[in-house]
Symmetry: C2
Subunit: 314 residues, 2 copies
């Protein structure tokens, strides 16, 4: 199995990308090879410094870079030899089983939509993130930013997508799906959350437990937390800021709060597309990159894309 | 000056309410009298236990109680001798300068809308909450639940209301107003946040600093954080849950995180109505009640309602 990494993506690329890839190649030795995609001149010397073994680390050349500030759609179209465009071409061609990048989030989404494309039946793919649970394990929160505005039918599908991921990748049996709302009662919330509640309630593919509130993000009420991308993004960034404040205050001895660290998981999968793509944090460290690649391996070995395709075929 | 308290409101009423009122009467001695509104049989003995001085604590009888689970509008209409209805009547009649309750939030809102009424020109009053800032002081977040869905014009007014409160009650000179969004760039967000951005940008009454993100809640970018009631409620409850988790883990030595405690401020003012009303947390302790009453005194002495009326008159 081959897992690809955008060697040019992220604030500390290519150094952090190569360092992370070397770590992942060791961790996944015998199970998967890491394919580094980027400018050969920049990446080759870093690989040589590591004395990295060509068997576990393959370098594929891509001459262009989509920078962090570039307009995603324009850059993706114009830079067809960028590491992100090459990565998606390889993913679409089946040459790699997953593609990971800590680069331009928008370009990663554009590539997902126009190259590997949404699964037929999925209205809009979502970006998922993971939340540490106070009593152990992870929950999955989606959408966290791909779709600022969502129709009830989209949110319903996020419930299904998250549920499949929780089941097949996180190994949670019969995941509990909760709808983020401002009250637990069925009639609470906006017209959209009210309509979504009704759809989720009768959806036969999921185990819907009803509305949850902001206070329930970290408890065991729901394994899958459904919300629009605006709300998910606000919650995600708020959690990140709390981690940063605690880090500054050297309060991270606590194992629960320590798990707020984005590094621990590595990246945010795009769910509802035909292949496995993961977006990493811009500031990704080698540890984060390594974990993102391992997450890519887990997604690929779980067959989650096929599970999603089968569910939405009907 | 007289500040009224619903003696029957909150999970631990009337005990916590009376205890808090006694504390506040001492703290505000010579400046304000506390008016306790509730069932005389229940409240009088508690007051006598304290040996409370009749000069600082006045008991006004109200025979009915609106329970936490009751339908707000129905209960408010049917229970015209409830402590909440009596409190609003006294507020409207000018017999007290502020009314505070840790009781049924919905009934407090209904009373605000139908008794003292919104300030002419204010489309929809908002519930405000306070966020501790990492480098000291408080920010104001609104709406946190009165309006799950908001039009851009409502959100614009929340910016004005919050700005006036920050200026006249919190004493912040030229408060910075930020719009909660999923990215800093002007074009980011939903159709509603995009339209709101344009309105806030040209509003001459406020100092708009642009979009902020979930990570900016606790930093110094904005003093006033504008969002719809759904998003504000999710953020508020998420912050509360973090405080609860830290309390459980005995991590509250830290002065910043300690300020996440709702007790420190006491309550959430309803902004945009003709008088001063504050809603307390259902679990309010005597300390929380005491702080809510002091906050009521601060609001009343600041003349914030008149400032709001003057601003929206034009």
């Amino acid at each position: 199995m081959k897992i690809a990494l955008d060697a040019m993506g992220g604030d500390f690329a290519p150094q952090a990308a190569v360092d992370g890839a070397v770590l992942a190649a060791k961790a996944l030795a015998g199970k998967a090879q890491i394919v580094l995609i980027g400018q050969e001149d920049a990446v080759r010397p870093l690989l040589q410094q590591h004395g990295a073994d060509a068997e576990d680390l393959i370098l594929v050349s891509a001459s262009q870079i989509i920078e962090m500030g570039e307009h995603p759609a324009k850059a993706y179209q114009q830079k067809q030899d960028s590491s992100i465009a090459v990565g998606y071409r390889m993913l679409h061609a089946g040459e790699v089983e997953a593609f990971c990048s800590a680069g331009n989030t928008g370009a990663m989404l554009v590539g997902a939509m126009f190259s590997v494309k949404p699964v037929p039946g999925v209205m809009r793919p979502a970006i998922a993130n993971f939340v540490p649970k106070l009593h152990g394990g992870l929950g999955i929160l989606l959408d966290v930013g791909a779709n600022a505005e969502c129709k009830p039918e989209m949110l319903e599908q996020f419930g299904e997508l998250g549920s499949l991921y929780a089941q097949y990748v996180l190994g949670i049996d019969r995941p509990k799906v909760g709808l983020m709302n401002l009250g637990e009662e069925e009639g609470k919330g906006t017209a959209i959350t009210q309509a979504t509640h009704q759809l989720l309630k009768v959806n036969p593919h999921i185990h819907f437990i009803g509305n949850i509130e902001g206070r329930d993000l970290f408890n065991d009420k729901a394994d899958v937390i459904v919300c629009d991308g605006y709300t998910g993004n606000v919650m995600l960034k708020m959690a990140e800021s709390i981690y940063d404040i605690m880090a500054e205050k050297q309060m991270l001895d606590d194992p629960f709060f320590n798990k707020f660290n984005y590094e621990a998981v590595g990246g945010s999968p795009i769910l509802g597309i035909n292949d496995n793509a993961i977006i990493g944090h811009g500031v990704s460290t080698p540890t984060a990159i390594c974990n993102m690649l391992q997450q890519g391996y887990q997604m690929a070995s779980s067959g989650i894309s096929d599970q999603i395709k089968n569910t939405f075929k009907s």
